[in-house]
Symmetry: C2
Subunit: 300 residues, 2 copies
């Protein structure tokens, strides 16, 4: 089986053995600017390269944007410039095997559920804190999609309508407080300290400065994780999950702040729901998505 | 089949015909103060009275408090003074037929889903606005329970940690802003107008005054429904449901304000999720629970 994690900048493809463990990996640039066919060609080449000498039974794909997982139709993926792309069918025609497509956050949730921090916890919330904030819900042991594949949009729950502007056009979404974009925005606004005047500062720089003890960077990171905790509290109160798994690049760099999010979530979560839940970091790092894509192909 | 809606003040029991429609009803006081056995006796008598001359195959029960629906164990029902009561087993022993127990809000959700406003929408959120605020989630066509039967606690999502105190011991829960208790509290604080000085004013009085054009009562109701809309927005953004059904006594009296909640939810909900959802009043009124209990007995 093969899995493909299709991102806005790179395509990560993996071949798994009979036991589901990854035995080969291929990573290429997405090259979205060259158009749909060029991206499909790269995906197909990557799968063929990863699966060289092996007969594939199916391919799983994690793709950005809301999509219809039943037919593999991507509704809208701004990073790729795609609208209403029948990705599943187009890949199936090119590869000659069944192709199963899932939203990328759902795919990462599935990866962590099956082979990462999820430990097969049937009620699990996955949150990815990266450039934006996304989420995937594993409820009763299955990915929960909602009416139009849009379930899990944790990043767009509004914490404060008077908060900072969000990419979605509204104000005060969790993403506008706690994403990598938000952290970089706060750092750019810094007037002194090692971050001051760095126009190109990223969340990674802020996390690194915080780890080295810069108090301003620490304050920015802490504030982001406080808001993350508040958002998680609403999700935990509503869904009574066993586990919340937090992944994504910002989480990887700022894992020392997860305790801040946990403490804030404890204050805001309804007591009986808090008693049953653990909030833990993702285990698979950048592989969550591709591992989930393999699980998808295996119909796990 | 028979269904029982066990509440803190009354027990509503119904017999359904082969088509699932209710053909007979029995309503008695719960008499919780007399203790567990007395309440069980009343439930058994009610079922026997409702089912007189009919051979029952199973009984469904909606009961307050978080509970384990798989074995019918009620963890905690403060209104009844119950802790860890194996309600399902105790009723089965007395009635000699299988007994299926669900949380009351889940039961009402099931009732509306199967025979009310739900129209078999597989992704449906039910919210009851009454003395408190509860909720039930129908996801992928089934009741979603969460890890400890606690899913759907919409009333205890915190909207503002600086908000009014809630019965749960925290501040600013949706319930502390928009429940019947909250509406009555605001009315008691009124200094002039027809509500002033009424120590025993209820949410029903406020709703009635609002319908008769009292601006102060109208303001209190509007404020409650604005907060309801904000709470619904978080739920809709996270779950991408097709339908939100709002029931309960406060909703029944203040249905004219549902549009206020809808408008506020529209402002706060993530755009793609808002496109797919409708927010509608419950259709079954005080029968939602008992109709759901019948559906439970029928294993619908």
């Amino acid at each position: 089986m093969a899995g493909v994690d299709l991102g806005g900048t790179k395509i990560l493809t993996a071949l798994a053995g009979a036991d589901g463990n990854i035995v080969r990996r291929v990573k290429v640039a997405t090259g979205a600017a060259r158009g749909l066919d060029a991206v499909l060609d790269r995906m197909v080449e990557s799968v063929r390269e990863a699966a060289a000498g092996v007969t594939l039974a199916a391919v799983g794909v994690g793709a950005p944007g809301p999509l219809d997982h039943t037919c593999g139709l991507v509704y809208d993926a701004p990073n790729l410039g795609w609208r209403d792309v029948p990705l599943g069918g187009m890949l199936r025609d090119r590869l000659g095997v069944p192709v199963f497509v899932e939203n990328d956050a759902n795919c990462a949730a599935l990866g962590e559920y099956k082979r990462g921090a999820g430990q097969n916890c049937g009620h699990m919330v996955y949150v990815t804190v990266s450039t934006g904030i996304g989420g995937g819900l594993i409820l009763d042991g299955r990915i929960y999609h909602g009416e139009a594949g849009g379930a899990g949009e944790i990043g767009h729950m509004i914490l404060d309508p008077l908060g900072p502007p969000c990419n979605c056009g509204r104000n005060g979404c969790l993403e506008a407080f706690a994403s990598g974009t938000a952290i970089a925005r706060e750092a750019r606004a810094a007037r002194d300290g090692p971050l001051a005047g760095l126009e190109t500062v990223t969340a990674r720089d802020v996390a690194a400065a915080a780890r080295q003890g810069d108090p301003q960077a620490g304050r920015i990171m802490r504030d982001a994780f406080i808001h993350l905790g508040r958002g998680l509290a609403a999700v935990i109160t509503l869904l009574n999950p066993r586990l919340v798994v937090v992944g994504g690049g910002v989480m990887a760099g700022g894992s020392g702040f997860l305790g801040v999010a946990r403490a804030e979530a404890a204050r805001w979560t309804y007591g009986p729901a808090w008693e049953r839940v653990e909030v833990v970091p993702a285990l698979l790092g950048p592989d969550s998505g591709v591992v989930g894509a393999v699980a998808l192909a295996r119909r796990e």
